[in-house]
Structures are given as C-alpha cells and as structure tokens.
C-alpha cells in the first residue's frame, strides 16, 4: 500500500537469470520474499521498478497493459495449498478450467484432463467425482493436474509439498522431477527444505530479507555454511554429516548427489579403502 503507514519494500535489487531447462530451487526463510518474487514471473504482481523478461515477453515497471494471458499460459504456478482453488462439480471440469481459459477446445481439454490425471498418479475414474469428495492428498494432485493441463513451459511450484505426509512429499517431488526431465521444463521450486533443494535442483537461489542473497550450484552454495546460517538456513543433513566426517577422518569426500544413499555409498567406499 503505497503512501500509507503499511507500506513495505518486499523485494529489492534482484538480478536473476534462469536458463531454459534449469531446475532452480528458491529458498529462504519465511517472509524473505520468495512467493512475492515468483508472482512477478507471470504478472500477478507488477514491479514498481525494474523489469521481468520471460522468453520474448517483457514486463516493465509502469508499463501499459501487456499481454498477460500468453505469459500466464507459458508459466504455470502451483500455489501453496493448491487444493484450495478447486471449485468445479467434477474433477474433469476443474482440470479443464485452465486450458478452456486459454482457448483450447472442449474435446482437446477433455483429452488433456485424462492424460494429466494419470500423470499425477490418480485413476481415470476420479475424473467424474466431485473434487470435494476426495482426500486432501488427492485434491492436491487434482489441483496440480489442473496446472499441468495448461501445458506450461515454465513450472513454478510454491511449496508444493507443504502439509503432506513424508511419503506424499517424496511422491509429489518425484512427479515434478520426472516431468521436468521428460518434458524439458524450466522448473522453479520455492521451498523451505534444503533437503528438497539439494536433491533436485541444478541451481539454488537463496533469498534473505527481500534480496537475492546467494545464487549458484548446490555444491557452491553448501560450501558457504556460515552465510546460510546468517540467513536462518543451513546446509542439508547429508552435507553436514559429510563435513563432519571429512573433519574427523581427514579425507576430502564430495557428493555428486545429496541423497542419503549417495552419502552412504561414499562413506562405505572410503571405509573399505581404509580397510585395505
């Protein structure tokens, strides 16, 4: 709210290039500006200074009404708790909402709905049910399917696993990762979880107090543990373990992936070597 006591600067001095096909994790403490940043990416919020460029479309501060619809088709956002956006009588109709808004014919949209419902791991029989009869986890999948049905080139995920059980978390994240790989998407994942970021991301951008604090490859980011802690974050547990392990053993092990499996492999290999 400009010019009132409620005015607050949410974002400031952000220079971020995201190459096509990147899986970027946007990480930061609550209130660091992650959600605000991604809402600029498809024109839901407009910058008061600076510009945003996506493909050939550019959003400038103070610019006139631009073609937001094509921008929004290109960048699909899965919001936090996306199940809250369901409204139609049937799952099928709800999934068709996005494509229909972007001018896809009814038949094509129906075919798309059948395709995406399988992508998110639900049976086709769900399509004719009311979304409000489903369980929370199923509703979340339907809502995600609704975004996927728009066939976006850039997929923006705002904490898509918040409030899910651990198994559901892994499933949903694996789903996004395989989509990212298979369809050659550009994915931007907003998350609190360093574990998720380390597991899936090619690049990590750390937000702190509305500014871009760190940006780089996961390995580079994790080498700056102190800086991360200053932003209220920490390196993932696997890296923490390895750093301690390296300290104690005097070795210099490195991880190519930041999973527990990879860590176990590295450690057991080094132990075997020492045994010899």
């Amino acid at each position: 709210m400009e010019g009132t006591p409620f005015e607050r600067r949410a974002l400031h001095d952000i220079n971020l290039d995201i190459a096509d096909g990147t899986f970027l994790a946007l990480i930061g403490h609550t209130g660091s500006g992650k959600s605000t940043l991604i809402q600029h990416l498809n024109g839901l919020l407009k910058p008061s200074a600076g510009s945003i460029k996506m493909g050939s479309t550019e959003l400038k501060a103070g610019g006139k009404k631009q073609d937001l619809k094509s921008l929004r088709k290109k960048a699909g956002i899965v919001f936090q708790y996306p199940e809250h956006q369901l409204f139609e009588e049937t799952v099928e109709k709800d999934i068709m909402f996005g494509p229909r808004n972007f001018g896809v014919s009814e038949e094509t949209a129906r075919l798309t709905a059948a395709k995406v419902i399988e992508m998110v791991g639900l049976p086709e029989s769900v399509l004719q049910k009311s979304p409000f009869d489903l369980s929370g986890g199923q509703m979340r999948r339907v809502a995600i399917a609704g975004v996927l049905a728009m066939n976006p080139e850039v997929l923006i995920l705002d904490e898509p696993t918040a409030g899910l059980d651990p198994a559901g978390r892994v499933e949903i994240m694996e789903l996004f990762y395989s989509l990212h790989e298979r369809n050659n998407l550009t994915t931007i994942l907003v998350t609190h979880s360093m574990e998720d970021a380390s597991r899936y991301a090619d690049e990590i951008a750390v937000m702190h107090k509305g500014e871009l604090y760190l940006h780089g490859k996961p390995t580079d980011i994790f080498s700056e543990r102190e800086a991360l802690q200053k932003a209220g974050l920490d390196v993932p547990e696997t890296v923490q373990f390895l750093q301690k392990w390296n300290e104690k053993s005097g070795l210099n092990l490195a991880l190519s992936k930041f999973t527990v499996d990879e860590l176990a492999k590295q450690v057991s290999q080094s132990l075997k070597k020492r045994g010899n």
Partner: protein, 265 residues
C-alpha cells in the same frame, strides 16, 4: 488489488485520541450525533467546526485519510444540499430562471445541512480511525452490559463481532490468493461483458465458501476443546482502563453542549 481496503479504517498512530478508552470515545461519538442537531446558526456551527477540527488535529490522522472516508458520501452531501437550495422558499429571492427559484434561506439551509452531514461523518470516522475494531467491540460489550438483565445476548453478539472482524483480513488474504491462483489458470476477473464477468466469480466464490465453512467448524471445535462456555465469569486479556483524560474529554463535550444551548437561536 485488494490493497485499498483498510478494514475498520484504523490508522495506527500515537495520539491522545488513540490512547483514550474506547468506551469514552463511543459515548462521545454517540453524544456528538445528537448535539450536532443543536446547531442552528453561524456561531454554533462555527463552534462545532472548531471543535471537530481541533479533535482531528489531536488525533494525528492526516486529512487525506479522513477525506478518503468522506468520499463515498460526498455525492449524498451535494445532493441534499441542492435539494435544500432549490426547495426551501424562505428569505429573499436571490435568483430566478424559469421555474427555478433560489432563496437566501434555501442557500443557508443547504450549507447547514451539508455541514451537519460532513461533521457527523468526520467525527464517526475519527472514532474508527483512532480505535481498533477489537477495542470498539470490547467497548460496546461493556456499554451494552446492563442490557443482559433483559436477556439480551450481549456477550454472544460481541463475540460474533470480534470473530468476524478477526477473520476479515484472513478472508481477504484468502480471496487474493484464490484470485491469483485462478488468474494463473487464465481466469479474467476484470474484462468482458457483465454476464461473463459475473460468471468468472464462481471459481472465486466456491472455494471461499468451502474454506469459510471449514474454518468456522474448526474454530467452533477449538473453542469447545478449550472449554468455552459463553461469557459467564470470563475475564479478559485486554482490560479496558478508564483514565482521567476520558473523564476530561467527556466534560469538554458537556461544556460544548452547554455552549451550543446558550448560543443557538
């Protein structure tokens, strides 16, 4: 999009008016509603205007904010003023064009009525600008307390009000969130023919209703789980405190009333 909505219009600041007890402010505002009608000549109106503007300057609320609150009723004020100007036929004839006749009495009457309306709205918006909605509710509950004798559910009424006030920002946030989510799916709330636009609100309203009902149920459950059983014997977190300044303010108002009585025609 919804950023222009300031609920209850509360303007956070630190001023003598902000620090006053909500009960004294409520009494004063209510009392003011009546004494405005005592004024009937230039002197008494001048007194009221002076009093009102001193109060406004004491409140530290910028005039710009007050004007925002006045905007919606300005049309009404102008309309009533014109009605009086054209329809009152008293005093000297000032102007005549065809069937239109403007009399001196009409002009004066029109100005007085407009002033009266403006003063009323300014004072009452000052109440909401300097008092948080929750404080107003608490104050009302206190002031209406005696009505409990006649089995009026004062506590329940106040509770309902505080709950709705508490959830307005939540509801607004939720609205904005769902609106954005549907806009990201290509929904368009701002253009197209009226019929289409009305339809476009279905994807917004259905989720809002669903979540509101869910929230109400959860709240009721949470209240019961914590042993809520109505207002009987309940103490409060924010106790209202009556200070000297509250008594002083009411005395000042009484003085103003006396002056109005003496100076009116």
């Amino acid at each position: 999009m919804l950023q222009n909505v300031i609920i209850g219009q509360y303007y956070p600041a630190s001023s003598p008016l902000h620090r006053m007890d909500s009960r004294s402010k409520l009494i004063a505002a209510f009392f003011y509603l009546f004494i405005v009608f005592l004024a009937n000549n230039w002197l008494t109106y001048g007194l009221l205007i002076a009093f009102t503007f001193v109060t406004i300057s004491l409140s530290k609320v910028p005039l710009r904010f007050l004007y925002k609150g006045l905007k919606p009723i300005l049309l009404l004020v102008v309309f009533t003023m014109l009605l009086h100007i054209f329809l009152t036929k008293e005093g000297d004839l000032l102007y005549k064009a065809g069937f239109l006749e403007i009399y001196e009495g009409g002009v004066i009457q029109g100005i007085f009525i407009a002033l009266r309306l403006l003063l009323l709205v300014m004072m009452t918006s000052l109440l909401t600008l300097t008092t948080t909605p929750i404080d107003i509710t608490d104050g009302l509950e206190h002031l209406l307390g005696p009505l409990k004798k006649w089995k009026l559910p004062v506590h329940e009424f106040a509770l309902m009000m505080s709950i709705s006030l508490r959830f307005i920002p939540t509801l607004l946030q939720e609205t904005e969130k769902i609106m954005k989510a549907q806009m990201a799916r290509g929904a368009d709330f701002t253009s197209g023919p009226i019929k289409e636009r009305a339809k476009a609100f279905v994807p917004l309203l259905v989720p809002l209703f669903v979540s509101s009902f869910k929230r109400a149920e959860e709240l009721a459950l949470a209240m019961e789980a914590r042993g809520y059983r109505g207002g009987e014997g309940r103490t409060r977190l924010r106790a209202l405190e009556w200070h000297q300044r509250d008594t002083f303010a009411l005395l000042l108002l009484a003085l103003l009333t006396l002056a109005l009585f003496l100076l009116r025609n």
